[in-house]
């Protein structure tokens, strides 16, 4: 099966770096890795036919952040979901902009909403919120109640 094949390939190539790998359902593979290996894994997948970066999302768990990449191979029709674990106290991860230009705005959005810094991104600014917004609203500890006032631009 294609799903098994890609898991075996990845395990062969990266060995211990693949913390967890499972088949969620047909055409869905979930892989968990550490944040330091994200660039190499993505590069490897890209070179092996996983050309479509579908989405990058950031998730705030109680003990960690996760940057989740959905990468699709149109030939084998397998969608690989890579979950990169990021520690809470140092939310940084390497950018994959140099592999997929599509990562540009996804990473900016993740930064905007979750405060994860994508290192090596050429233009990491807020995207949906005003540039002088304080805090990261999709974090679970974000306080919703107090309003923010923004400086008036001349």
């Amino acid at each position: 099966m294609e799903e098994d094949k890609i898991i075996n390939q990845l395990k062969e190539k990266f060995g211990e770096k693949i913390l967890d790998a499972k088949i969620q359902r047909a055409r869905r593979v979930v892989i968990t890795i550490n944040r330091d290996d994200i660039y190499e894994v993505c590069k490897y997948l890209y070179e092996n036919g996983y050309e479509y970066l579908s989405c990058i999302s950031a998730v705030d768990y109680e003990d960690r952040f996760e940057s989740v990449y959905h990468i699709f191979n149109a030939k084998t029709r397998v969608l690989v979901q890579i979950k990169a674990i990021i520690p809470k106290d140092d939310p940084k991860i390497k950018s994959v902009y140099s592999i997929w230009k599509a990562a540009d705005w996804f990473e900016r959005e993740a930064y905007d909403m979750m405060g994860i810094v994508y290192e090596g991104h050429p233009d990491l600014r807020r995207i949906l919120l005003p540039h002088d917004f304080k805090g990261f609203p999709l974090r679970k500890d974000f306080k919703l109640t107090p309003a923010q006032w923004f400086e008036k631009k001349g």
Partner: protein
């Protein structure tokens, strides 16, 4: 002279002009702001500024129960509300392992494809307005109105339907609807010929569309373009075929592609896609089975812990939802919408360098964005 564009320093050199196109401009299709660095009328650099319509949908969803989220998804891409409903319902159903009844599946497909027709028609209409032909605009809306009538018959609403439910659909359709639907499809099919002729037999228009804002297949994939924009570059990538959902694998239809990758191709792909959608709806109407329209679902929807990535082909491209449930509450832990227009707009500045303003606007219109979809 230096400008601060949402935190980005941009310098205006000699012979350049920084022009704010939007947030209020007739051709930006909503409140999108494009900061253009012009040399004469040639845009050297494009800096999109978005977020004017940001409502924090993802945050709101974290504080709503699962069924309450359906109307919120309507308001993201308001021109293809059915597809937004569909992707969200598919995600929850996959999480809970709900089997959708046959009839509901067919109705979903009819609704989604009618929505695609309506959305592509509105694309053609607004595109007409952008190249200065109000006639095409009126024609597009005229045809869309008929499709909206059908959707109203189905769901009771004309714009924001909330038609899909977790485990099925809201209402059943009657025999009358089936007849009406067949009639309307015939009319639209006939009128599509007019559109094609208008574009293909007009030298001025061909001059404006052909060869403008070309994007190669490889580049388009790398930029994350999806939907008709990607297919216009010759990539046969359609979620309905490559990652089938619902019951799309039962239908006989083709992926429309074009080789050129320019504005012309993006327009023609959409016109041809309407034809394919008509084909699908006709098949669905023919095979429409009797039976339930909604599966038995618990009163309180509380999916087990887990995560799911569901995606559908919306009229604008790949629409996906990444849903995480912690299994403890009746509200999602995290929900992330991967909206097609967001990715398409992100790609836009990369393949539109050095275009004149009129070409730029046509190219902008041709990627068919909806600001509600981008800002969420």
């Amino acid at each position: 002279m230096k400008y601060n564009i949402e935190g980005l320093e941009v310098e205006e050199k000699d012979g350049e002009m920084i022009l704010n196109m939007g947030p209020h401009h007739p051709s930006t299709h909503g409140v999108c702001r494009l900061v253009l660095k012009l040399e004469g009328e040639r845009a050297k650099e494009i800096i999109p500024v978005i977020g004017y319509l940001h409502r924090g949908v993802e945050k709101i969803c974290e504080n709503r129960t699962y069924p309450q989220i359906i109307p919120i998804t309507d308001r993201m891409d308001y021109l293809s509300a059915m597809n937004n409903n569909l992707v969200y319902c598919l995600a929850v159903e996959e999480l809970m392992g709900i089997e959708v009844p046959e009839r509901a599946n067919y109705l979903r497909i009819i609704a989604a494809e009618l929505q695609r027709i309506a959305s592509h028609l509105i694309f053609i209409a607004t595109f007409g307005a952008d190249f200065g032909s109000w006639t095409i605009m009126m024609y597009g809306f005229r045809e869309r109105e008929m499709v909206l009538d059908l959707l109203e018959e189905m769901s009771g609403a004309r714009f924001l339907y909330s038609y899909m439910r977790i485990g099925g659909v809201k209402r059943d359709v009657s025999e009358k609807f089936v007849e009406q639907c067949k009639k309307t499809l015939n009319i639209i099919e006939k009128r599509l010929v007019d559109y094609e002729n208008y574009i293909n037999e007009n030298e001025i228009l061909l001059d404006r569309l052909q060869g403008v804002a070309k994007v190669s297949a490889k580049e388009a994939i790398n930029l994350g373009l999806t939907g008709p924009n990607l297919r216009a570059s010759g990539v046969a990538y359609d979620i309905r075929k490559v990652d089938p959902y619902c019951i799309y694998d039962r239908f006989d239809f083709d992926i429309v592609t074009r080789k050129e990758g320019d504005v012309y191709a993006r327009v023609m792909v959409r016109i041809d896609e309407i034809k394919e959608s008509i084909r699908i709806v006709r098949q669905a109407l023919r095979e429409l089975p009797d039976g339930e329209i909604r599966a038995k679902v618990p009163k309180v929807i509380k999916p087990p812990a887990g995560e799911v990535y569901a995606r559908v082909e919306s009229p604008r491209g790949e629409l996906a939802v990444y849903l995480i449930s912690d299994g403890k509450s009746d509200k999602p832990y995290r929900i992330k919408f991967r909206t097609p227009a967001f990715a398409n707009l992100a790609a836009f500045p990369h393949f539109n360098k050095n275009l004149l303003i009129p070409d730029l606007l046509l190219s902008f219109a041709s990627i068919d964005i909806v600001m509600g979809d981008i800002d969420r």
